[in-house]
Symmetry: C2
Subunit: 98 residues, 2 copies
């Protein structure tokens, strides 16, 4: 399991539209291979900044299976219009939790 | 509940020492007011980069209660020597999850 960490800057004033678009995307992820869960966090210091924490079974499920799928195109069509700049994406392994 | 998101650059070669230091810090957090949980994520693309996701009952529990406590001093004494640069800290509210 890996976590995709996405940092997003949303166009000011479109935050609620962006949140509604993410909610509409749930069925897209549900049919994506290896997808496990998605969390949306909104920054307190910078309210137009969001982070998504998306858990995938494997790195390949995100960077190959998802990115090459029509689901990715649908996801970007829903949320992309609200992006103020390109998303910053990184992947991580959870090494500890308590 | 809020999430403290910390991005850390660790001195190359000290990653395992840093991870061991975080594990030793569990009792420090357990006695900190409003602390709920801590996750440690290591970047796949940049293996000296880590993110901590620390959940607190309130923002004040982190930025006032914890930062002004002796527990904060103990935490920094444990992990700080492994930091390659000052931590980047931000707080966020979870607005959705599925």
């Amino acid at each position: 399991m890996i976590t995709e960490i996405v940092q997003l800057e949303i166009k000011p004033g479109e935050e609620k539209d962006f949140e509604a678009a993410v909610a509409m995307a749930q069925p897209i992820f549900k049919r994506s291979k290896g997808w496990k869960s998605l969390e949306v966090h909104r920054s307190i210091e910078k309210p137009s900044r969001y982070r998504l924490f998306i858990i995938w079974e494997t790195l390949e499920n995100h960077i190959v299976d998802f990115r090459e799928s029509k689901e990715f195109q649908e996801w970007r069509a829903l949320v992309g219009p609200h992006f103020a700049s390109p998303p910053e994406v990184e992947h991580a392994n959870k090494v500890a939790a308590f």
